[in-house]
């Protein structure tokens, strides 16, 4: 039968070593430069550590009361629309959606985080920064139908011009 005193003694012995463990890790450079982030479950991109605290103020405007990811994804299931008003082939693309995936707290290396920060929706309300990134992904993705639609768009415009 283990007594309460023995449990406390074991715990004290263990916790007294934690400082030593920290020193060993620091000496090897492990754990340095780690920063807290929230990771998007769909894209793997990172949001700053205040993502949940500032929900509805700096992040996730209009996405409901519970924090989710505000990164944009492509809806490949829905075909691009081509209209007579379109003037450039650049306007053709699959529609985008806010993925609303789960976000998880994590500690990651600052260099890694710097390479994978998500573009904040609040700073890009008209998607001018995000659309070129996602359109390039749509062109590269085999599920995308952009190339077919672009070819059709060019053919139709050539017919209209009498070529």
């Amino acid at each position: 039968m283990i007594t309460m005193e023995e449990i406390e003694a074991s715990l004290a012995a263990f916790t007294s070593k934690l400082d030593d463990i920290d020193k060993i890790l620091a000496a090897r450079g492990l754990g340095k430069n780690l920063i807290p982030v929230f990771r998007c479950g769909a894209s793997g991109l990172y949001f700053p550590h205040d993502y949940v605290k500032e929900w509805g103020k700096l992040y996730g405007i209009g996405l409901g009361p519970h924090p989710v990811s505000e990164t944009l994804q492509t809806e490949y299931e829905i075909a691009p629309t081509v209209t007579k008003q379109m003037r450039s082939v650049e306007e053709i693309m699959h529609p985008l959606l806010v993925c609303q995936a789960q976000v998880d707290w994590d500690l990651v290396d600052k260099k890694e985080a710097d390479a994978k920060w998500a573009v904040k929706a609040e700073e890009d309300p008209y998607m001018a920064k995000r659309v070129p990134i996602l359109r390039a992904k749509q062109l590269a993705n085999p599920r995308g139908q952009l190339r077919i639609f672009q070819a059709e768009f060019a053919r139709e415009r050539n017919v209209e011009r009498g070529f």
Partner: protein, 249 residues
Amino acid sequence: MNPTVIEDSVSIPAGVTENVITLNNSLRKFLNAAHDGKCRFAAVQSAAGLRLDLTIGSKLFIASSEPRVGTDLSEPYDVFNDNMSARRGDQFTLRANNTTAGALTLRFRLVNEALKEDGSSLSEQEWAQVPPDDRTMQRGPVSIADGSVDFQLLDGLIWERPPVPSYLQLFMTASAAGMTKTLDVEETNIIPPSAIAPNNRVPRDPDDAVIEGVEVADRDLILVAVTNRSGGALNAFWKTKLTELARQV
């Protein structure tokens, strides 16, 4: 008589689409009302940026309105307007303005329920007995800077002054706590400064209702104002529903 249901998930390119229904060739045969009926319209968008207008025949029922962001269209929460009358042959015109640089998905449902069991047309006397229509606007997010006092949400919008005597129903939410709202009709204060529910979404009907049954004479000014003293910018979401006091024939 079965209702006519026009339902689609469609990609809306950047800029203005004059009639979303015509983007789908299969829906063209439903472009005009098949019978005299009452209509309802529900929609959600895949990301913020779409603004919709719905006209039936020559009457505008939904003006400059923004849907909730989501992929799950659900009634009654996402219904913009469930009280719009259509006469046989009236054209449905759903205009969309995509204010972003990319394409967005609009999921919508437009239902026309026949007023007569056999789907036949109503006489002029019967038509005059049909319950009056609603006009709705819903917007958000509307950014409210810190320190804003009495920021007017309806300023310059089409139904800031209703065209006919109407009952007003107001819905509101905010992106986070810290704002207050007021409602005035001309010089009469209806809602004194009071908190706005921080539900961070385009208002749901009926969950986010603030007040209903406010009588507004035609051409009276409706003032929905918000004040933000939270210490940072916040966003407001609102919806107004104007029910005509009497049928406009």
